[in-house]
């Protein structure tokens, strides 16, 4: 459980850490689009090289990025198996493509959370989706919910580990086949959910006592302006995005 680190922030002074969070969210969405418009192997290779370069530039250790999403690789694997079984022709190749796409998408999402604090993610979501306020959608609440979810992932992981150790010390057996393991996990899940609900209640009280939702529009600690680095990153990303579109058009 300690190995599950998705959603954790990696403190560093790397260039990706300094970028505007709203821009990073936009890059994330465009990168995922680029993954799905790249149908050729050349296109996919470009996507893979790009994400490798991003990891190097971010100064986040490669190991941390891998650890961050490795527990979710199973999802990519299951999806690719389903694709393989449902494709009559070239099933293995289609499965491989799906696997690469999903792994790259997980990797770039992990890179976003590793280089952006949950509060910055919230600010980014709030800025990017502010146009939805016209339709009375509570963008601020959605953004803060995402931020708190990201913040509490490691907290709940630690809690799960404590419960696991407590149950083990009382003789719980987590070994055996899959069915046995699944049934023994219940002894972790029940107290974990109870604790999560208690925490949620206390957090809500704490937020309310700190005037959350008291009326005025929430402001931010930092005014999220666009700096030189953001312009440079946008130009580089635009070049990459146009290149993947060109590759797609050329190899159609």
């Amino acid at each position: 459980m300690r190995d599950v680190t998705f959603g954790r922030y990696y403190p560093s002074k790397g260039p990706l850490h300094e970028l505007n969070a709203a821009l990073k969210l936009l890059f994330l969405v465009l990168y995922i689009i680029s993954l799905f418009i790249s149908v050729s192997y050349t296109g996919l290779c470009v996507c893979i090289i790009f994400i490798f370069l991003c990891i190097i530039v971010s100064r986040v250790p490669f190991k941390s990025v891998l650890r961050s999403f490795r527990s979710m690789i199973i999802l990519a694997f299951v999806s690719s198996v389903i694709v393989c079984l449902t494709h009559a022709d070239n099933g293995a190749l289609a499965a491989f493509t799906v696997f690469v796409r999903l792994t790259c998408a997980l990797c770039v999402s992990a890179l976003l959370t590793l280089t952006t604090t949950p509060s910055e993610v919230a600010d980014g979501i709030q800025s990017s989706l502010s146009f939805l306020r016209v339709f009375h959608i509570p963008v601020q609440d959605i953004a803060l919910s995402v931020s708190i979810t990201l913040h509490f992932i490691p907290v709940l992981q630690e809690e799960a580990e404590k419960i696991y150790n407590a149950q083990k010390s009382r003789g719980a057996d987590f070994s055996g086949n899959l069915a046995k393991k699944a049934s023994s996990v219940v002894s972790i899940l029940v107290p974990l959910f109870a604790s999560a609900f208690r925490r949620a209640g206390e957090l809500a009280d704490s937020m309310e006592s700190r005037c959350y939702g008291s009326g005025p529009e929430r402001t931010r600690l930092h005014s999220a302006g666009i700096h030189e680095a953001d312009v440079l990153a946008s130009l580089l990303f635009a070049s990459y995005f146009l290149f993947t579109i060109s590759v797609r058009l050329l190899l159609w």
């Binding site: 949950p118 206390e202 937020m207 402001t219 600690l221 930092h222």
Partner: protein, 240 residues
């Protein structure tokens, strides 16, 4: 100095049966008051009532002249009276220290420059300035609790209600927090209501309230209140 809290016959009712029963007291501005009593006695309920998190079913409660039972006053009450809970992990909303401290000032719509000013001011008051950019996960329990304190101080409150904030931390950090609280009372005129189970912490206060079964059993100088509580407890044991 006048009273910043005026409670007259306050009552609350909980579905579980626990609640406050006809409690009356006044708290003078700039005083350091401890509240103690057995578990389930109503101390935390009182803290929540003072912050408007739990509604009254009877009596009147004024915080800095504002009626807490009036929903329109809640925002004003919460700006004047900050509440810190027992477990810092359940009240810290951000990963980075300064972002968490800034959460409150951001909620009341202050300009970013003012938010930054108050954040650094609050962190300096609790001696955590050097950790402003640190991740909260890298801090000890006591340091996390200081971040929670700073989060309330960033409102520049007149009153702070602290609900067993030293119960989960080691003795050294506990002493540090106590000395910071004394400094806040002495040099910044903040009124502190400190809920605790520890008698040695009660003795550091100017006044002690003892709450049991939702009733204010004793109110006075800490030494006198503790002496009477111990005597009563001994009598109960003898009778049993």
């Amino acid at each position: 100095m006048g009273a910043v809290i005026r409670a007259r016959g306050i009552c609350t009712s909980y579905r579980t049966g626990f609640g406050l029963r006809n409690i009356s007291f006044e708290i003078e501005e700039g005083s350091f008051v401890c509240i103690t009593g057995p578990n389930g006695g109503g101390k935390s309920t009182l803290a929540k009532v003072l912050n408007g998190l739990v509604s009254l079913t009877g009596g009147t409660l004024e915080v800095c002249g504002l009626d807490v039972n009036d929903e329109n006053n809640l925002d004003g009450v919460r700006r004047q009276l900050g509440l810190v809970f027992q477990n810092p992990d359940n009240q810290i909303v951000s990963v980075v220290v300064k972002e968490d401290v800034a959460f409150g000032p951001c909620n009341i719509g202050l300009e970013p420059e003012e938010v930054a000013k108050r954040t650094s001011e609050a962190l300096s008051l609790v001696g955590m300035s050097e950790y402003a950019s640190s991740p909260v996960t890298a801090l000890s329990g006591g340091q996390k609790q200081l971040v929670s304190l700073a989060g309330i101080l960033a409102f520049r409150p007149r009153i702070m209600v602290l609900d067993e904030i030293t119960s989960m931390i080691d003795p050294v950090e506990r002493r540090k927090i106590l000395s910071i609280l004394k400094d806040l009372v002495k040099n910044h005129g903040i009124t502190v209501l400190f809920i605790t189970h520890r008698f040695e912490e009660c003795l550091a206060a100017d006044r002690l309230l003892y709450i049991e079964d939702g009733v204010l059993v004793a109110d006075g100088r800490p030494e006198d209140v503790l002496r009477s509580v111990i005597k009563a407890s001994d009598r109960r044991e003898e009778n049993a």
